[in-house]
């Protein structure tokens, strides 16, 4: 661990706890753009987006189709001509363990964690800021991590002491330097289409969602017949929705709704073995670790966004 008296510091989770439930139907002051093209990502991904500081004379573009001010993609990436875009979203990201684990695995993919509880967002933003600061302070000569083998070793022995990806890498360089992850406060059940264009995302994560046991609270569940339409809207065909939970009842509910939803198709388990995101989905979130510590079961179900069968038949 880095010297704790000087330089950047990782925030401590225990100072950022918040009551478990926020009523998603309540009005609350949330910031969200009118439409995705007006979202300023520069605060979240300063390495990828120029700040929206326009000359005072330049009026805001009235055209809703205008692209955000974007820098080129990350240096050396294949898509330098494309403006940077967020492609992964973690819905209800909590303390952000998934993002921290995925960041070096997909170093040139932008990912956001979305969380409704202010304190958790605050924690994760500080955490990401600290990790970036460590990385940027290390300099090009520093040792580099072979992330995949590191993660493999760690997942093989999950009970060993705090893993590297628990807190992120502070002493060696990782690909992407955590410049590609960000956290923001959003009520995902209301405002996803304000942040993401149709078919913008390639991966969507719903990990250890709140179970909402009471029947009349079922509409508050992150997976529901009606919410799936919005997830399908932001995911591009071929994109993947990952769900995992330790609550059997919720797992059954999730698969029941996803199986019945025409735009999603279950990915068979053997196909998932080749997906590098899956071990992180299972092992890397704070909630997932808690379940592992308590020897709970984990029910994984991943679905591919497919084209509308109703349109293919025509």
């Amino acid at each position: 661990m880095a010297d704790s008296t000087a330089g950047p510091k990782l925030p401590q989770k225990r100072y950022f706890r918040q009551r478990a439930h926020v009523n998603i139907f309540n009005d609350m002051p949330l910031e969200y753009p009118v439409r995705p093209s007006e979202q300023d990502w520069s605060d979240h991904f300063p390495a990828y987006f120029r700040t929206q500081q326009q000359p005072a004379s330049a009026a805001r573009p009235l055209s809703p189709g205008a692209e955000p001010q974007a820098k080129r993609g990350p240096a050396g990436s294949a898509h330098t001509a494309q403006p940077a875009r967020v492609e992964f979203a973690d819905i209800g990201c909590g303390y952000g363990g998934l993002l921290v684990a995925l960041a070096p695995l997909y170093p040139s993919t932008l990912m956001v964690g979305m969380e409704i509880r202010t304190k958790l967002v605050d924690y994760l933003q500080r955490r990401i800021h600290a990790l970036r600061t460590f990385q940027h302070a290390l300099g090009p000569a520093a040792e580099r991590v072979d992330v995949r083998s590191k993660l493999r070793a760690e997942f093989a022995a999950p009970d060993s002491t705090e893993g590297l990806h628990d807190n992120g890498e502070t002493e060696r360089l990782v690909p992407g330097h955590y410049d590609n992850i960000a956290a923001m406060r959003i009520n995902c059940q209301k405002y996803l289409p304000n942040f993401f264009e149709k078919a913008q995302l390639t991966k969507l994560f719903i990990l250890f969602a709140d179970p909402h046991f009471k029947r009349r609270k079922h509409k508050a569940r992150i997976v529901s017949a009606t919410m799936l339409a919005e997830y399908a809207y932001v995911l591009r065909p071929g994109g993947v929705l990952y769900t995992i939970t330790d609550v059997k009842d919720l797992a059954d509910w999730n698969t029941k709704h996803l199986d019945a939803f025409p735009l999603f198709e279950r990915i068979p388990d053997d196909e998932l073995e080749n997906d590098p995101a899956v071990p992180c989905v299972i092992n890397s979130t704070e909630e997932g670790k808690k379940v592992a510590r308590n020897n709970g079961s984990k029910y994984l179900a991943c679905y591919r966004r497919i084209e509308d069968p109703a349109n293919l038949n025509k």
Partner: protein
């Protein structure tokens, strides 16, 4: 004693019928304002009119709608009843209740289903089922979930088919969170687009057959907007303030009545109550809370596949503020808000104040008051009441309350699961 106000008007050109909704009752007239049928007990010595059985439980009617061909009519009530009538003999085809309160209803283009939008953000479809005209629920197709928003649904409508996109139909739903969702229909799980741009609740959405690629919406943000349905692209924003501010300036629009705890009282707001389509004139007509005028916006088509635009509005002054508007061929029918406590010139005393204003197309294709139809429609009396209930402002439920709250009240609204 005064008569209770008409809160909803609905009309259908194919059927040539106008429906006037007041409290838990409704009248249906022909295009001349002659009473055809009514649920109200006293049919005013009109033997020719049909008495409609009101199977509802007496709750106020929230919305009323004809099917496109005018053969069906439906209402939903505040106490969650849903009724479908057939419009030749006014027999009831369906009487059922919904789980949540329904705010808006619309028949799908074929008239096979009645589609709802409810307070919980969900939209259901109810099979009309003309064959079995009994009211038992047995053997009926269960209402199916069409789609859902995590919000309150305010309006629901169907697009008109574009010739180029064979048979692709869209269902348009708008909600209290600034959104209009465009979903394919019947495969409504497939969202075509969101129309994003309004900054407050969206009360009304109007697709028109003369502009099948477009929809027009009205909102509590003081604007009427024109959209491209297939992409959700905002094409035009009409700022109502620009031409309606004069009604506040000269005192004809009254600020702050019936608004949320008077926090909204001070501001001059333009809450669009309804936008309807004048098919024949290729125009839209809107009414705005507190503004005593009908606002007619001509739709000007463009050549070469370019989108049309909403042209300069024509304003027709009304004696009082509106509650709703409907269109029948060349006629615009506006229902009027109750006489306010503040005395105003020309608004009539509360006993004989007109409940309806009708407009017709005059010379040089401008709308003018239609005295004949106005008189005929006002001849269909509503119910006498000791005190006419005030009409609640759309801002009461539409506003996000935290916006109106003093600083400090706006913490996270954490709530434990009970």
């Amino acid at each position: 004693m005064p008569y209770t106000s008409v809160t909803v008007v609905e009309a259908n050109s194919c059927r040539g019928a106008i429906a006037l909704v007041f409290d838990s009752d409704f009248h249906v007239t022909d295009s001349k304002g002659k009473l055809l049928a009514s649920t109200a007990a006293d049919l005013q010595d009109n033997a020719a009119a049909i008495k409609i059985a009101n199977i509802g439980k007496g709750g106020a009617i929230k919305a009323a709608v004809f099917s496109r061909d005018g053969s069906l009519f439906a209402i939903c009530t505040l106490d969650k009843n849903l009724l479908i009538y057939e419009t030749t003999n006014w027999s009831c085809l369906l009487s059922t209740s919904t789980e949540k309160r329904t705010n808006a209803i619309c028949f799908d283009p074929t008239g096979e289903y009645l589609v709802t939008g409810d307070k919980f953000g969900d939209s259901y479809k109810f099979k009309v089922g003309l064959a079995e005209s009994n009211n038992s629920d047995t053997g009926r197709e269960k209402p199916g979930l069409v789609l859902g928003h995590v919000s309150i649904l305010c309006d629901v409508a169907f697009s008109y088919c574009l010739a180029s996109e064979t048979q692709q139909q869209y269902i348009l739903t708008c909600d209290r969170d600034e959104k209009i969702r465009i979903s394919k229909y019947p495969n409504a799980y497939n969202i075509q687009a969101f129309c994003l741009g309004h900054t407050e609740f969206v009360t009304t959405v109007a697709p028109a057959s003369f502009a099948p690629a477009n929809a027009v919406t009205g909102s509590g943000d003081g604007t009427i907007r024109l959209w491209e349905i297939s992409t959700g692209k905002l094409l035009q924003t009409v700022e109502l303030k620009e031409f309606l501010a004069k009604y506040y300036a000269d005192g004809r629009a009254v600020c702050g009545e019936n608004t949320y705890e008077d926090r909204t009282a001070a501001s001059e707001r333009y809450g669009v109550l309804r936008v309807r389509v004048c098919e024949k004139q290729r125009a839209f007509v809107a009414v705005v809370e507190r503004i005593p005028a009908a606002i007619i916006l001509p739709f000007e088509s463009k050549q070469d596949g370019e989108h049309g635009v909403l042209g300069n509005p024509q304003l027709v002054d009304l004696v009082r503020a509106p509650t709703d508007v409907a269109v029948l061929d060349d006629s615009i029918i506006v229902s009027l808000a109750p006489v306010s406590s503040a005395p105003q010139a020309d608004q009539g005393t509360s006993n004989d104040a007109p409940l309806i204003a009708a407009l017709r197309l005059g010379a040089d294709s401008k709308f003018v008051h239609d005295k004949e139809l106005t008189n005929a429609l006002n001849g269909c009396k509503t119910k006498e009441v000791a005190l006419v209930p005030a009409i609640g402002s759309v801002f009461v439920w539409g506003n996000k309350m935290y916006l109106e709250r003093p600083k400090g009240e706006d913490q996270d609204q954490d709530q434990d699961e009970e």
